[in-house]
């Protein structure tokens, strides 16, 4: 899955004097307030962090409230799906007009019917709707299926992904992986024939 990256950053975190008794708690508090929000500096949505204090020396700011700045080394897990990248998520809702997917448990992705390739046809079976491939009957997109989709756009304010199933390598992850495994022996046969 693309879009996830691990960054290392050296940060200066300003702590309010009331937290001077437990500075590490103050640092965690500051960093936690950034979680699940898009941050321009980090260029991504902060999902998780790991912080270590670099130096016990902290500079006190002059001003109304004497905040002090602590140098912290952090490792940050960031989510930044760029357009045309691929992400994976679980299907939460299927209707003829759209498929709703939840990516990484927090980001909502929507694929509207215009972005679903012609290969897939909406069918209702046993009261449940699904998209079944016309060419490969086993390839079905149902509730709970892990879906790989291409990112068209990412709304940073609400963590909303507009996705697309137009490219050939999108669809049910299990089926796609099985298909790529089956493709390998035929490659080998092809090479043997070539050599021969």
């Amino acid at each position: 899955m693309e879009g996830l990256k691990l960054s290392e950053a050296e940060l200066m975190i300003f702590i309010h004097p009331s937290q001077s008794r437990n500075v590490f708690q103050g640092i965690c508090r500051e960093l936690s307030s950034l979680l699940f929000q898009y941050n321009e500096t980090f260029d991504g949505v902060l999902l998780a962090y790991d912080a270590t204090v670099k130096s016990k020396q902290a500079k006190i700011l002059t001003g109304l409230h004497p905040y002090f700045g602590v140098r912290v080394n952090t490792r940050l897990l960031l989510f930044d799906p760029k357009p045309k990248s691929f992400v994976e998520g679980k299907i939460a809702k299927i209707s003829p007009e759209s498929i709703h997917v939840i990516v990484l448990g927090f980001s909502a992705a929507v694929i509207t019917d215009v972005d679903i390739r012609e290969e897939f046809k909406y069918r209702v079976r046993d009261g449940e709707g699904s998209f079944v491939s016309r060419s490969h009957k086993r390839h079905a997109l149902k509730l709970g299926t892990m879906l790989r989709l291409q990112v068209q756009s990412f709304d940073e304010e609400v963590m909303h992904i507009a996705g697309s199933l137009l490219p050939e390598n999108t669809g049910c992850v299990k089926w796609l992986e099985k298909k790529s495994e089956e493709a390998l022996p035929t490659d080998r046969d092809h090479k043997r024939r070539k050599l021969a």
Partner: protein, 604 residues
């Protein structure tokens, strides 16, 4: 396939004949109408809007058409634009409650689809739903039963919709909370629809959405209750009085467990009365919520949030009259866990030297009032809390070499007053606990220290304490304190400070009618307290024994006490436990009284 190939579906109800057009036709027509706005062609769109803006008394056909149009819109959400179809979106939010359940369902589906389709619709859609949390208003008058029935139709649907949206958009609860706060601010303080709103908020807290944002919701509710508390009409001029006397006056007219009369409230402006009634209803709602949390084993985590709100909002606001009873009720539901934790946390605040002085004084006042009034707290626990207080005060005395200076030792005096106050309520039961006996010696050293807390603390508390201490045969302090039935003195005012923390007894009886019926079963009213001088006030039963008094005291007998000549020849070893034993025997019912010899024969 162009839209022109389909017949243009007229949207006004008179001309439309449903049998002619299929659902697909309708869907395409709706999409065409929506798209045409961007080209400047608004005829179809205007017709669409007319269908949406139905009145309450529309006919069956019109309602059916509305339903189908809503369903078509649900599948065409990708065609809805925030800017061009603004009035359509506004129409969706205005009349939710005035329609039939099937229309409501169609509308809810539309809102869910719209919210899930794009991030920019999330807030408007949540707003559309949350607006229905208040009491609905109708164009014509409706009866109370109709109103209740309507709310029972609307609210579950709104909750279900919120849950579905949160499922499809996991971060939606955070947006929801800010919208809930916004809508709450719009409700006026005296508006009764706050009760319905809070009811829905508490239901949300109890649900899966509450797992994410429950703490924020509870804080919002407590903040509003605090606002109402501060505005409510209880006249605070009585607040300066030591409420023991107030209780006696009122409670002589009522039996134990009766509802407390709201006479004090009625004296004030009717505005204040309305607010008090609202607050009363909200408190009862909250009590029910706490009970349901207790039933689903969630009371622990809810208690943590409650205590945080208590610390942030209530502890330092000395004028709250009722909000603290939320904590009291939560503790009464689970005395061994929450009850103990509340007291321990308050004590920790008092004992922590890093906390601000006023907070410490307030915390110990809460602790004292709580330990005295909580009927569900066992005497052993109260004794252990008192022990820690006594130790702290004794330590302070040890390091301090000052004379009486109320302003300089406020924290110390508030601690002493707390001890005295709790003992006024609990002396009889605590004195029976053997391991607390030694504490009385420490207490005596505190009371006879140069700082002289008996002079500084609130006179009514001190006089009651001395009365009971004497009757219980504990100790006599050399100076006699003549207070002339004073409730407060200059010195107590000095230690209490501007906030008057000397007369601050936060768990004095709750004056709200409905809430007090929940609180009373677990509440120690003063009239119920068994004092050491007995219910009948017969002081002759306990002859005085000088236990730990100063050398002077033997030469200055108090006027009240009759010294039996036989007693004078007795040794001065502590016989108070023996005395109490005889007292008990003397009070036994005649059937099982061991002998008919006169009481004096029991004395050695």
């Amino acid at each position: 396939m162009g839209a022109e190939e389909f017949p243009s579906v007229p949207f006004n109800s008179n001309a439309m004949d449903n049998a002619e057009y299929t659902d697909t036709d309708l869907v395409f027509a709706v999409r065409k109408a929506l798209a045409s706005v961007q080209n400047g062609d608004t005829d179809d769109y205007s017709q669409l809007k007319t269908v949406m803006c139905l009145t309450e008394d529309a006919d069956f056909d019109a309602v059916a058409q509305l339903e189908t149009v809503l369903k078509s819109l649900s599948v065409s959400v990708a065609w809805i634009d925030l800017v061009h179809h603004k009035d359509l979106l506004e129409a969706m939010s205005l009349w939710y409650h005035s329609h039939r359940p099937s229309v409501m369902d169609a509308l809810v589906d539309l809102i869910i689809s719209l919210a899930a389709t794009s991030g920019k619709y999330l807030d408007p859609c949540l707003n559309m739903l949350v607006r229905n949390f208040s009491q609905p208003t109708f164009k014509h008058k409706v009866s109370q039963t109709q109103l209740v029935k309507k709310m029972q139709e609307v609210h579950p649907r709104v909750h279900a919709a919120l849950h579905k949206i949160s499922y499809l958009i996991p971060l939606a609860p955070w947006n929801l909370v800010s919208i809930l706060a916004q809508n709450m601010r719009k409700i006026d303080k005296k508006d009764p629809s706050i009760v319905t709103y809070v009811d829905n908020l508490l239901r949300l807290e109890n649900s899966s959405i509450g797992e994410v944002v429950g703490s924020v919701i509870l804080m919002m509710v407590m903040e509003r209750m605090l606002d109402l508390d501060l505005v409510s009409g209880c006249d605070d001029s009585n607040g300066g009085m030591f409420d023991m006397e107030l209780e006696d006056a009122v409670e002589s007219t009522m039996n134990e467990g009766d509802e407390f009369p709201v006479g004090a409230l009625k004296q004030n402006t009717s505005g204040g009365n309305v607010v008090s009634e609202l607050l009363d209803k909200l408190m009862v709602l909250f009590f029910h919520h706490l009970e349901s949390c207790q039933n689903s084993d969630r009371l622990d985590e809810v208690f943590e949030i409650l205590f945080k709100s208590f610390e942030n909002y209530i502890l330092n606001t000395y004028k709250t009259k009722f909000s603290q009873f939320l904590m009291f009720y939560a503790c009464s539901l689970d005395p061994e866990n929450c009850g103990v934790r509340f007291a321990s946390k308050l004590l920790d605040i008092y004992l922590s030297s890093n906390t601000c002085r006023l907070t410490r004084m307030s915390a110990v006042a809460y602790l004292a009032s709580y330990l005295s009034r909580g009927k569900f707290l066992p005497a052993s626990f109260v004794a252990s809390m008192l022990k820690r207080l006594v130790d702290e005060c004794a330590e302070y005395c040890g390091t301090c070499n000052d004379d009486v200076k109320p302003e300089a030792h406020q924290v110390f005096y508030s601690g002493c007053q707390a001890i005295l106050y709790v003992l006024c309520f609990r002396m009889r039961s605590i004195v029976e606990i053997p391991r607390f006996q030694s504490q009385f010696r420490s207490l005596e050293s505190i009371l006879s220290h140069k700082l002289n807390p008996l002079l500084v603390c609130l006179p009514s508390v001190v006089s009651e304490f001395l009365k009971q201490a004497k009757a219980g045969g504990l100790f006599i302090v050399s100076e006699s304190f003549i207070f002339d039935d004073l409730h407060e003195s200059e010195l107590s005012r000095a230690f209490g400070g501007f906030e008057r923390l000397d007369t601050f007894f936060p768990f004095d009886p709750c004056l709200l009618k409905m809430s007090s019926s929940y609180i009373s079963p677990n509440f120690n009213f003063w009239s119920m307290v068994k004092t050491t001088y007995g219910e009948d006030g017969d002081e002759e039963l306990c002859d005085e024994v000088i236990v730990n008094g100063d050398a002077d005291s033997a030469e200055e007998p108090d006027d009240d006490v009759e010294l039996d000549s036989e007693m004078n020849t007795m040794s001065t070893t502590p016989k108070h436990s023996f005395m109490r034993e005889t007292e008990r025997l003397l009070k036994m019912p005649s059937r099982i009284r061991p002998s008919t010899s006169p009481p004096e024969s029991f004395l050695i």
